[in-house]
């Protein structure tokens, strides 16, 4: 598997690993059957993501894309986080092998799932803002 140095760095030294107690938004995507699960925790204050942590079960690319995604949204506004695309995550990691592109899609979805949860907790319908996030497949 031809991983870039950045992917390897984010795999060996992942940023923002862990949980946030009483997080304002939690999103989980993927499933164990496919071999990838990402869980994203957000702390949101005044429309800004002040803290972001993740836990990932998956391959090197799954860990690296989660780590990079947290770096890219931490300290940014919700609007910025909503604009995060899988290709931006891939680009920031100097690319991914073709069979691992879906990991970057999962990372984007994990952020969106966490924001969906945030809006739901606020009593706001998330769909017009976040769009539809694929449901976790049941095993």
């Amino acid at each position: 598997m031809n991983y870039s140095e950045k992917v390897m760095d984010h795999f060996i030294n992942p940023r923002n690993v862990g949980e946030i107690k009483n997080a304002d938004g939690i999103g989980e995507v993927g499933n164990a059957k496919c071999g990838d699960i990402m869980k994203m925790y957000l702390r949101i204050e005044d429309e800004t993501i002040t803290d972001c942590k993740f836990k990932t079960f998956g391959c090197g690319a799954a860990v690296a894309t989660s780590s990079m995604a947290t770096e890219m949204i931490k300290g940014r506004s919700i609007d910025d986080a909503l604009k995060l695309t899988n290709s931006a995550v891939m680009e920031a990691l100097d690319g991914l092998p073709p069979v691992k592109v879906h990991c970057s899609v999962l990372a984007e979805q994990a952020v969106k799932a966490a924001l969906t949860d945030y809006y739901q907790k606020q009593g706001i319908d998330p769909e017009p803002i976040v769009g539809k996030v694929p449901e976790m497949e049941e095993e």
Partner: protein, 408 residues
């Protein structure tokens, strides 16, 4: 702890040994002649190939005329299976028996034949990763052309009862092919005593270079030509011989088969030490029979950990290993071998294969056992799957093939 570099992926490939390299060297520049040429440089190389063929044959209990050099295991498998299929289809025999956990070179060849009117029976594998000869006997029909069962599995290292299967096939008058790519040099092979009709082997698994292998075809079996052209390999596989590779293969197979009992005696305790040590980590399982397995193979599943990230962490600590087979790693599906022995997808994703050879030491085993628990703990601490498992009391079922919730 001082970092060690440990190559524990012999089932994928091995380095060319010094003896093999030395044997090959003259044939690159000095003895470069085409074995088909009439002058001395050609004739000498023709003799070198005749000699190499005899040496390979001797290591398998075969006759030199029964050894055909190929480019490796996959080519040999393809030739054996498609060749027999083609030959016997004319006699109305269009049924093939194989197993669910063969190498893809066998499985995909059988799938190809299914598209061309053949019927294939994929025998199920026991939870221990073994094929029962009785299953083979029961599956043989009037129109069965070939039984193809691997000698030793490439992922879980289980050794099949080849002599018994050979006896069944002989009694029923059905041809028997075995993919022995993982077995050569690790178990004693005698094609005559074991009633093997066709046997595939690959040099680079036992210190010959990549790109050379052989197919043993028992005398009396005539397969269609694999490559049409010149008269090389009795006209069966045309093309100027890979002289250096063939010389290397002969040296390598002699070295690999010279003292198999000593190799087994050396590696078995190391294997068992690794198995016992790794199984001390919670929620792990050994894949494949503990006793009927190659002396240099360990395959363990770790709940809540994904295989590739485990390999990358091990590599960070200098340990080169595999998860499933290298051929599988490009795809996202868990290994068909692990699924064949009954593992659920969740359990199959977290497997580790360590495969090692004679240079493996006690210190290597100790290092792996020192490093692995920390890696497992680290990956589990960041795994949401592990978190769910802990919170919801999910655990192995009785035979450790899948995960179940408390009370299920």
């Amino acid at each position: 702890m001082e970092k060690r570099i440990i190559y524990a992926d012999h089932a994928a490939t091995t380095a060319v040994s010094d003896a093999v390299l030395q044997a090959m060297m003259p044939y690159f520049q000095t003895n470069f002649g085409n074995p088909s040429s009439i002058y001395s440089k050609g004739r000498e190389n023709e003799r070198a190939i005749i000699d190499a063929r005899a040496r390979v044959a001797r290591c398998l209990g075969a006759d030199p005329k029964e050894i055909f050099f190929t480019a490796g295991g996959s080519e040999s498998d393809n030739w054996a299976i498609k060749g027999v299929a083609d030959k016997l289809a004319a006699k109305g025999k269009k049924h093939i028996i194989t197993s669910a956990f063969e190498h893809h070179a066998v499985l995909h060849t059988c799938e190809f034949l299914e598209k061309h009117g053949f019927e294939v029976t994929y025998l199920p594998v026991s939870a221990d990763g073994l094929i029962d000869p009785q299953q083979v006997a029961d599956a043989i029909r009037e129109d069965t052309a070939l039984v193809s069962i691997m000698y030793a599995n490439n992922e879980i290292g289980t050794i099949q009862p080849i002599a018994e299967i050979g006896a069944v096939c002989k009694a029923k008058g059905v041809l028997f092919h075995t993919d022995a790519v993982q077995a050569v040099g690790n178990v004693e092979i005698d094609v005559k005593a074991q009633n093997i009709d066709l046997l595939s082997l690959s040099g680079h698994k036992f210190h010959a270079p990549k790109g050379v292998g052989a197919l043993y075809i028992r005398r009396g079996i005539t397969l269609p030509n694999l490559i049409h052209g010149g008269g090389q390999e009795s006209g069966k596989r045309a093309g100027t011989e890979n002289v250096t590779g063939i010389i290397g293969l002969a040296q390598a197979i002699e070295d690999a088969t010279a003292n198999i009992p000593a190799k087994i005696a050396k590696l078995t305790p190391l294997r068992d030490k690794l198995i016992d040590g790794i199984l001390k980590i919670a929620d792990t399982r050994l894949n494949g029979s503990r006793t009927q397995r190659l002396a240099g193979n360990v395959n363990i599943s770790f709940v809540g950990i994904e295989g590739e990230s485990l390999l990358l962490m091990l590599d960070h600590y200098g340990i080169m290993a595999s998860s499933g087979s290298a051929c599988t790693s490009g795809s996202l599906d868990p290994s068909h071998v692990l699924l064949s022995i009954g593992l659920s997808h969740e359990v199959a994703h977290g497997s580790l294969r360590l495969s090692f050879g004679e240079e493996f030491t006690e210190e290597d085993a100790d290092y792996i056992l020192a490093v692995l628990p920390g890696i497992a703990e680290r990956l589990r601490s960041m795994s949401p799957m592990w978190e769910t498992i802990q919170k919801e009391g999910i655990h192995f079922n009785a035979d450790k093939t899948k995960l179940i919730k408390e009370g299920e």
